[in-house]
């Protein structure tokens, strides 16, 4: 019997290196695409949370301002970061921006939330979700004195302007990676439907 040899020529080193390089390149592109997709997916999800919070907070504030008298027992600046309303039961509704890391938010140290109290500031609850940082909450009120209370002598109303409130709010979802943060800056105005005069 003759000797039977099996020769498998295989690949040269150059061929292997080229293949490995191409494979690495393809994997790099795929991994980058995957990572980008994951990050954008997270960012979209975070943006949805911010939008939902913005919508909810504006609706809550709008309903409150429409139906509840402005609390003119306190001194109002043209703009502030606190909205005070005074229902007929005497328990003020207060909506305010908390300091960063406020325990009432129950969130991370860097987070400032929107807080609401319906009993004059005794109990508070956050109006915004976890990880949503309130970067700006500004309330513009006009007029700053009640148009429904007679003052002076002879008595007269200080203004003939129906109260209205403009609220501007900038929210940011603070994610673990900064590139996944999502922000939203919105503003609306609500005219009071409380007709006294």
């Amino acid at each position: 019997m003759g000797e039977r040899k099996v020769c498998l020529p295989g690949y040269s080193l150059t061929e292997l290196l080229v293949v490995i390089m191409l494979f690495a390149l393809a994997m790099g592109i795929l991994m980058d695409t995957y990572i980008q997709f994951t990050r954008l997916s997270h960012k979209t999800s975070n943006a949805a949370v911010v939008q939902q919070d913005s919508r909810f907070a504006f609706e809550y504030i709008a309903r409150a301002v429409r139906n509840t008298p402005i609390d003119y027992s306190v001194t109002w600046a043209i703009s502030s970061s606190t909205l005070r309303l005074l229902p007929t039961n005497g328990s003020a509704i207060i909506i305010t921006q908390s300091p960063a890391g406020d325990a009432r938010c129950g969130d991370a140290a860097a987070i400032s939330c929107l807080l609401v109290s319906t009993n004059g500031g005794v109990n508070w609850a956050p109006l915004t979700s976890k990880s949503v940082n309130v970067k700006k909450f500004k309330v513009y009120l006009q007029p700053t004195t009640s148009p429904f209370v007679l003052t002076g002598s002879p008595a007269d109303y200080p203004t003939d302007q129906q109260p209205f409130v403009t609220v501007q709010m900038e929210l940011e979802y603070v994610a673990a990676r900064a590139v996944e943060n999502a922000t939203m800056n919105a503003q609306t105005t609500i005219s009071s439907r409380v007709y006294v005069r």
């Binding site: 039977r4 040899k5 099996v6 020769c7 498998l8 020529p9 393809a26 592109i29 795929l30 695409t33 995957y34 980008q36 997709f37 954008l40 997916s41 960012k43 979209t44 943006a47 949805a48 939008q51 913005s54 919508r55 504006f58 043209i78 703009s79 700006k136 500004k138 513009y140 006009q142 007029p143 148009p147 109303y157 003939d160 302007q161 129906q162 209205f164 403009t166 501007q168 939203m184 800056n185 919105a186 503003q187 609306t188 105005t189 609500i190 005219s191 009071s192 007709y195 005069r197």
Partner: protein, 217 residues
Amino acid sequence: MKLKMPNAKCQISKCGKFGIRNLAFGIHVLPGQTIMEMLLVFLIISMGLYGAVTLIVANVTHQEADADHLVAMDLAREQLELAQNKRDSNWLNDKDFDFGMTNIIGGCTAITNWNGSAVPSFVFAASAQPVNLSSLAVSLGMFTNQVGTATVFSRWLNFAPICAKPDHSATAVSATCACSDPAYTDKVGLRVLSNVKWTRRGSNKSLSIYTDMYDWR
């Protein structure tokens, strides 16, 4: 195809088109891929990547569109609320309910003159005017039609009287600032149309909402 092997006994004369060919010397030949096969593979991979990239871009675009729409809706609602506030303030001032809205010099299209401090009013504008982030100290960063940093949004209002027949059996919205139709002579209300326009990625978007206000509470 001819491969030169170091061992003289391991020479191959030719190999098959597909698969492995066993020659008399017992040599196995791995033919590899043709250029067409490689191109096909690249095409399939490219299609997969294109699909993923398209998905990402669409995702981002729709998310931005959602956010823009939400901001635009709030800005549009703001104009309606300011119009409502004007009517309510007119009552307190013992003026006609539509004073400052249908008697604007220039016409019945307007923008809101509201900068966060003075009493708001409406001024004539023939078309949508830019919404800026205010640069005024009193209202820094506020969305306003006053001077400031530009945003993608612009807005304006249209006031149209709601006119009724003398016996109030029917109403119609006037195309002018007054009840000019001889059949509909009594002004009973006001239709306020709020328009917001914006541009994103070269695409023009718009939103319009309206409310009907009457001379009663």
